[in-house]
């Protein structure tokens, strides 16, 4: 199911492109904010939760997910270089699964790791807040990677759709329409954080059992469907 050559090509494509700069900029920004907040406001559990929930989980994780998820396959389909993967006796679902693993790893490294570091800076893991949000970021990394990898497989405008989902749906729409929050990777991952964090420190709109089922379902279905789409990917259209 996992092909090391596909993985190597995907890592190099992801980290070698200019777009990859965002992968470094966003976590750096989070750390800078954490240092500044700690310096000016001191260690405060509520402030720490606000920064990690408001910036790290609501904005940074989905953005990194968009870059890594769509970037793991979209550019290759766009420029046609994916023929070199497709013209091989390698099962198409294997290509998708490998790219998913790479996208998850990249998203975790560039979102969960900085979330943990920022949490430690903000309040030294008081009320388990750093660990709780890190777990949320890890879980969200998986679901976002799967979703955005599918998007990158089916659409040439994957980045735009991804950004709309990440910023408009997750960040904006979710704050006004309660129903939207039920269908939000962010809320599902927060359901896990809620259990880990101190009493009342973190809240989610979704219960843990439902959140777990939805996370698993979205990840599995998106990956399966992307594998099917790749099997019938049409590379023509030049004539």
């Amino acid at each position: 199911m996992y092909n090391p050559t596909v993985a190597r090509l995907t890592y190099r494509a992801l980290l070698g492109r200019r777009r990859a700069a965002i992968l470094f900029v966003l976590p750096a920004l989070l750390i800078v904010i954490a240092v500044a907040v700690r310096a000016f406001a001191g260690a405060d559990d509520q402030v720490a939760a606000n920064v990690l929930g408001g910036f790290a989980i609501a904005t940074m994780v989905p953005l990194i997910g968009v870059i890594a998820g769509t970037g793991a396959i979209g550019p290759e389909i766009d420029d046609g270089s994916i023929v070199y993967l497709l013209a091989k006796p390698v099962k198409r679902p294997t290509i998708i699964f490998t790219k998913l693993i790479v996208a998850i790893a990249v998203t975790m490294v560039f979102s969960a790791l900085p979330t943990f570091v920022a949490g430690m800076i903000l309040n030294g893991n008081g009320q388990q807040i750093a660990v709780a949000y890190t777990i949320a970021a890890l879980v969200a990394s998986i679901a976002y990677s799967a979703l955005f990898l599918l998007l990158g497989t089916v659409s040439r405008h994957a980045v735009v759709f991804g950004l709309v989902y990440a910023l408009v749906w997750e960040a904006l729409f979710g704050s006004f329409v309660p129903g939207a929050r039920t269908l939000s990777v962010q809320q599902w991952s927060l359901a896990l954080a809620e259990k880990v964090g101190g009493e009342g420190a973190i809240t989610s709109e979704v219960g843990l059992p439902l959140a777990t089922v939805l996370l698993a379902a979205v990840t599995v279905l998106a990956t399966w469907y992307a594998g099917q789409k790749l099997r019938t990917l049409k590379l023509a259209g030049e004539e």
Binding site: L86, A87, E239
Partner: protein
């Protein structure tokens, strides 16, 4: 012995029919797929390569359907027309990745790089390669697993004459080894020099099939049209029409010239100056009026 069979296959994109009820068999040796731009050559190759499903009909490799069948790539090597490859890799890394995806190792990659004579630049990034170098690395990536079928889409585009000769030599050798080599081109001379067998595609239809002599004959035996101006057009017309090599003559008043349709190309070209001299007529203009490849192809389709 590996054979690709295209059986009553059509492919359309929305309302546009790109390939129209084509049947052909591509066997060992070098086959040239000849046709003007936009004739459907790439669509046909994409179906043979398993990148496109036929709308109707079927495309098979030794009896096995190619579409949605990753196993065929153990036997097929593909050189795509598009330039895009993994530009951030070196030539060696790229060919090695292709070898690994075929379940092979460094040795296979090095052998393929040697075959296309790209060892000297193998450690440079592909982004720095010229078009001809890219073409050769693409070729190496298709050859790593020594496929029995090689499909090349417009492989000579953008190559200089020396690179073209090298690639032709390589393909000729592969054909002689009994591999099935199919390449597309819109240039008759290219196809003629290389292919022992030619398939002509025009406007999505299979127009002609055969060796280059047969295709050549179809092309030279067709009615030729000439535009002729002389010191006495009417006298010349009267003298020419008496000979069976001339099928029709029209006096074009606006052009002040004769439009002549010749059925026997060889005979007409010797007849014209002879007749002119016998009648003391001076020839001012003799120009073929439909030598473009498209008109040749359109003739072939009608034939």
């Amino acid at each position: 012995m590996t054979t690709i069979e295209i059986d009553h296959t059509s492919r359309w994109f929305g309302n546009v029919v790109a390939v129209n009820d084509v049947s052909m068999t591509v066997g060992p040796g070098v086959t040239g797929l000849l046709g003007p731009n936009g004739a459907g050559k790439s669509t046909l190759i994409n179906m043979m390569a398993g990148f496109l499903a036929p709308s109707t009909g079927k495309v098979t490799l030794d009896g096995a359907l190619i579409w949605r069948n990753e196993d065929v790539y153990r036997q097929i090597g593909i050189v795509p027309e598009r330039e895009a490859m993994y530009d951030f890799l070196t030539g060696r890394e790229f060919v090695l990745a292709n070898a690994e995806l075929q379940g092979l190792d460094e040795a296979a990659a090095q052998k393929a790089l040697a075959t296309v004579e790209m060892e000297y630049a193998q450690d440079r990034k592909i982004a720095t390669y010229s078009k001809g170098m890219r073409q050769r690395v693409k070729m190496a990536s298709a050859l790593v697993h020594e496929p029995s079928v090689l499909l090349l889409d417009e492989p000579f585009n953008g190559m200089d004459p020396r690179q073209r000769m090298q690639l032709m030599e390589l393909l000729r050798r592969m054909g002689a080894e009994g591999r099935t080599v199919l390449f597309s081109s819109h240039i008759l001379e290219e196809v003629e020099q290389l292919a022992s067998h030619i398939e002509v595609i025009v406007a999505g239809r299979h127009a002609a099939s055969g060796d280059f002599r047969k295709i050549r004959r179809l092309m030279t035996d067709r009615p030729h049209r000439y535009l002729v101006r002389s010191s006495d057009d009417r006298a010349l017309a009267a003298a020419l029409i008496a000979d069976p090599s001339t099928a029709g003559i029209e006096v074009d008043l606006s052009e002040q010239a004769l439009r002549i349709q010749a059925v026997d190309f060889g005979r007409f070209t010797t007849l014209l100056p002879k007749v002119a001299r016998e009648h003391g007529i001076r020839l001012l203009t003799v120009s073929p009026s439909d030598e473009s490849l498209e008109s040749v192809f359109s003739y072939l389709v009608a034939a």
